[in-house]
Assembly symmetry: C2
Homo-oligomer: 509 residues x 2
């Protein structure tokens, strides 16, 4: 067996362990009876510990070194070289971060999540504050251990989006605000569309599920290698490209939750299902820092695909021109008196609101800007946890012109910080920006694309995305993928052009 | 940390791995999309290899030795001593059986199972024969490596039922035949009951499921720590006592399949859910030879509990006197013209047939006697694989008076041998015999038992079984459990008394 093959064999074992961890998570979120929670946690901790021990074993470093020697002369873009390089980088970072900090973060997580859940229910930020302080402190220690050039937050950002920095984000957010503010102003001035047919009529779950499944299969989601289940907080998760599952949430009086939830998760799933089969069970389908089986290269890039299929495809006028008739067949009574135009306006309503996950395409980004500012300040120490609620209210007022009446609708709404995750929020907005950049490039490069989309044929789009993004899994960094496939680094142009075109038509101002 | 605690910590890790393996199996049998099969197999192989490596690591022997020293002076019946003893025994057996034989058995298994499935479909025993020969040869090597006093088959028997021997089985089967033959003769002479209302009417799945779930919850199956799913081949499986799942199979034109299938699996599940919480994640809830998470101490004892709840409770006249009315509420049209007595006779029909898993309570044991005779002869070399079909036909004729028209209805019907399992068949009949022995003791020892059963209160029965069997998990051997709880070793008296009473009334002869 060659040195590379031995290295690959160890990576395959680690990927198997990560896939198993993902299955434990999926099962816990969709199937497990409540009584199983405690021992499930112990099982996950054991598998996670074994993955960590296997990866940090000195033998792994030997295997990496031997593989490095073997692939040294090969094409720097080859999957083999990339696999070895990424394993080396992850090994170095894992070695740098003290095991004690990692285990404290892990132990604190379930405790903090349950304190947070109670604090949120009771609108009691003070109860959560000391735990959040501890999470911030541990994250700061991670940042210091990882090292950074300019800002400690940069180290944390790079865990979720390799290469991303605070200074990059500042430019990005400034451009976005300049472009978004006028759209938002026009939206606020426009009359509200009718949504009574969504909020006041009953949409049975089974029909919601059937319609959503029919649509995501049109996108290309392969049920031979996937399935759709109900859950509380929708997610996509994979155990190799051969088994990529999505979940959604059903609300009988807000059908868009399930339908757009399924579109969103199917975008994540198409990315995972589209990985090159040769990369199955490899370092390039494994997040070796978090021991998570995933083909997507970063949080932002992954999000770009969920947003692309959910919003650029699934909330487009073209999409509903093709499929509104079908939706009406599933809900003939509920939609009997609703014109296509009314439906399209209802699902594209723009309105400032308190909850990020319920925000529309335009206001969503403001929620992210706020959170990123909070994270940056907490990590650099210029904002104290105790002052967070006040800061939040001020920022919401200044960004969106509304002030949350309590902390449940404010800084207690997201689970991320309770889970010890700081630095992942920017990726939701990065996803928005990248989704339009990819979509514009695909339409430009494939002449028949728009015509295909106009007749509800999503194959050319999926083919372009698979060829340029999905098949490579984690082999190329986000910036490399953007440059190779769109010809430019990350830029806000396509996204703002997309929003201006779409909302310019809806709110001519 | 004490030596015992360190030992227990390692056992907890191994149990976690076994629970995870069980979850991979459950998911593959109930949820996994077809495309996931290959990588799922790789994931299971990895977890299984890690469990094996962890258990056979020389460090485990050190931990066992240190724990042995620590518990040496304790009560020989204490859980701590039993846990250490069993780990030691499993360690010795695992060390004795050559790793090469184990891995050949493992590798051959999926291949042979798929050859078997095709051979069965094509009624082509010759295609399966060379693979079966290899499985017999490998099992013979396992037997020789394990060692035995009288017969190589004894070594294999003891893997599934500790202490069971060929000579014991010969006595047992002779007693059973002497008792069963007259019952069977009377059954054959009796007129057939009507079953048209089961085979010719349509029973919707949802109602079958609802009725079955309602009943197994009456038995005491706890849905807070369990769930019921549809599958092709019903099974029960657990990931600690906190999460014990059952499955059943729905046939719209044979409702008893799902209902009695669920009763059967719920019996297994009650055993698992009833283990002492202190034994969670311990050697006493782990089969360390097969790396299987299970609280039941042996295949036979486990089967005694599924049979007890399925047959002694679930097929009893008393049960249906209590619940037939409820069944009719679920199926008012299908059962409108069916009297309780007719229903009771239909579900207790006795009739020789070719397929073991479809056999009734009386003829079932003949199917086992045949298989045990085959296994014994194959292992000792007195029957060649090529002569098996002929031997099968002769035996079926001599035991039940019928001859299968093809090998699909003959030696190709069961998956066991294709899976490399030789020696597990006796346990189905042992389960029958033990079920009646336990049930009779419970009724004798608890004066209010029959009265409770008569008013459909299953709590005293579950309490007796939990106290005497379930809570101990694998701490006591089957023979110990029988003697401690019933006052005698395994004996056929209660089972034959039970059958004579029940079928004496149905077929007075």
């Amino acid at each position: 067996m060659s040195a590379y093959d031995e290295f690959a064999r160890r990576m395959a074992r680690i990927n198997d362990l990560c896939c198993v961890l993902n299955l434990l998570t999926w099962d816990a979120g969709t199937q497990m009876p409540p009584g199983g929670a405690e021992t499930r946690g112990q099982q996950a901790a054991t598998i996670s510990a074994i993955a960590f021990e296997t990866f940090t074993d000195p033998k792994t470093l030997e295997l990496i070194r031997a593989a490095e020697a073997e692939v040294a002369g090969e094409d720097p873009d080859s999957y083999r070289r990339r696999a070895v390089e990424q394993a080396r980088q992850a090994y170095e970072i894992t070695r740098r971060v003290p095991a004690e900090v990692v285990s404290q973060l892990k132990e604190l997580r379930p405790v903090t999540e349950s304190v947070w859940a109670r604090a949120r229910a009771g609108e009691n930020f003070a109860a959560f504050a000391p735990y959040l302080e501890r999470m911030v402190e541990l994250n700061r220690r991670v940042a210091d251990a990882m090292g950074y050039d300019e800002h400690p937050y940069d180290a944390l950002l790079s865990r979720y989006e390799p290469g991303l920095t605070v200074s990059q984000l500042q430019v990005l957010f400034a451009e976005l605000r300049a472009g978004l503010d006028p759209i938002l102003a026009r939206a606020k001035a426009a009359p509200s569309p009718r949504i009574d047919f969504l909020t006041e009529r009953d949409y049975p779950e089974e029909a919601q599920r059937a319609f959503a499944l029919e649509m995501v299969q049109k996108f290309g989601y392969d049920l031979n290698r996937g399935r759709l289940d109900p859950t509380v907080h929708p997610f996509e998760i994979s155990f190799t490209r051969q088994d990529v599952r999505i979940t959604t949430r059903y609300q009988r009086r807000w059908m868009p939750a399930a339908v757009f939830g399924a579109f969103h998760e199917s975008g994540h799933a198409l990315y995972e299902q589209g990985a090159d089969p040769a990369l199955t069970r490899s370092a390039l389908t494994t997040d070796l820092l978090d021991f998570y089986a995933v083909a997507g290269v970063s949080y932002g890039l992954h999000e770009s695909q969920s947003r692309l299929w959910e919003n650029l495809v699934g909330r487009s006028r073209m999409f509903w021109e093709n499929h509104y008739g079908r939706l009406r067949e599933y809900f003939p009574e509920q939609l009997a008196d609703v014109e296509l135009e009314e439906f399209y306006r209802a699902i594209n309503r723009v309105e400032p609101s308190f909850i990020r996950v319920e925000a529309d395409e335009v206001t969503y980004n403001y929620h992210i800007m706020l959170r990123v500012e909070v994270e940056k300040r907490l990590i650099e120490g210029s904002l104290k946890v105790q002052d967070l609620p006040e800061f939040w209210r001020e920022q919401m007022q200044s960004l969106l012109g509304i002030t949350p009446p309590n902390d449940r609708l404010g800084p207690l709404q997201d689970i991320h910080w309770a889970s010890g995750t700081i630095g992942s929020f920017p990726n939701y907005t990065l996803g928005n920006v990248m989704s339009a950049q990819f979509f514009e490039a695909a339409c430009r490069q494939v002449p028949e694309m728009e015509e295909a989309l106009a007749r509800a044929d999503y194959r050319p789009l999926l083919a372009w995305l698979t060829e340029n993004i999905y098949r490579h899994a984690r082999a190329f960094l986000p910036d490399e993928l953007l440059r190779r496939s769109t010809g430019s680094p990350l830029n806000t142009g396509p996204y703002l052009r997309y929003l201006n075109r779409k909302y310019g038509e809806l709110f001519p101002g």
